[in-house]
Point group: C2
Chain length 135, copies 2
DNA sequence: GACGAGTTGACAATGATTCTCAACTGACCT
DNA sequence: AGGTCAGTTGAGAATCATTGTCAACTCGTC
């Protein structure tokens, strides 16, 4: 019997391609698509398969290392983020992103939910606008 | 020069297929995909092209007649909704949806945004949970 | 009843994401 | 150093929602 009995998240094996993805993620500050990230990695010298980039990004977001959200037209975009629960204020034109948090909304969603008898709550909240630099 | 100079929303011409879509929308209370709706229309006797269903749904959501949101895997789903600004409390297992609203979040997002100098604000907020019936 | 912009539908095309599967790797043991 | 094996990778095929194409059709208007 191995030591990894429990179905919990196993530690991802560190490979050069995973490292490449993580490094790529460290290089920008806004949300990018898997394809753009794949592109960046290529430009940076490494060569990682597109499928691998998708797989890695997916795993990283499961683990909470990155946040994933969807563009207006449904494309998934990713960003390396802090581990604590938070939301995003995203510039519609340049993509500049600010992590925001506050007990207000958390409290509000929780009370609204229980008020209607819903349990096991989760929520998504993103704010879009035009940043100062893009006025 | 015509009377429809401004790029604003022209009134949609009432056709039998648009009617069919609207009727289909009236028949359920949760969010459904364009394909499911197309399916429903077919089952109900009418016969409307899938592309038309997509186009109609898109227009209706532009006009605010229906709300559109995205499933976890990026698929667009639609629901006939009230015209006023609101958010959704959706049951993760049966899809039962409640429209919710409140000045709290509206105010919060607005203040957070201006606090960071962002203008021209919009936001998305959805709450997921398990409804009383699905406990 | 004719006219023209708006609308439709069958089908092709696009494009992001996932699947397949044989070859490769990292961690561990002898 | 060599062996073992589950985890990982990559090239390309496969999926699948959504959009584009374009000739035929339709509604409201004159
Ligand atoms: Zn984040
Ligand atoms: Zn900006
Ligand atoms: Zn709604
Ligand atoms: Zn339910």
């Amino acid at each position: 019997m191995t030591s990894t009995e429990r179905g919990e998240a196993q530690p991802l094996r560190p490979t050069k391609q995973r490292t490449a993805v993580v490094e790529a993620l460290a290089a920008f500050d806004d949300f990018r698509s898997a394809q753009e990230i794949h592109e960046l990695i290529g430009r940076a010298g490494s060569n990682v398969g597109l499928a691998t980039v998708y797989r890695t990004l997916q795993k990283l977001s499961e683990v909470g290392e990155v946040d994933m959200l969807r563009t207006e037209d449904g494309e998934a975009i990713y960003r390396r983020c802090s581990a604590t629960h938070h939301h995003h204020l995203v510039c519609r034109s340049c993509g500049a992103t600010v992590e925001v948090e506050g007990p207000t909304v958390e409290r509000w969603t929780r009370s609204i939910a229980s008020e209607h008898g819903y349990a096991d709550i989760s929520h998504t909240l993103e704010i879009f606008g035009t940043c100062p630099a893009c006025r």
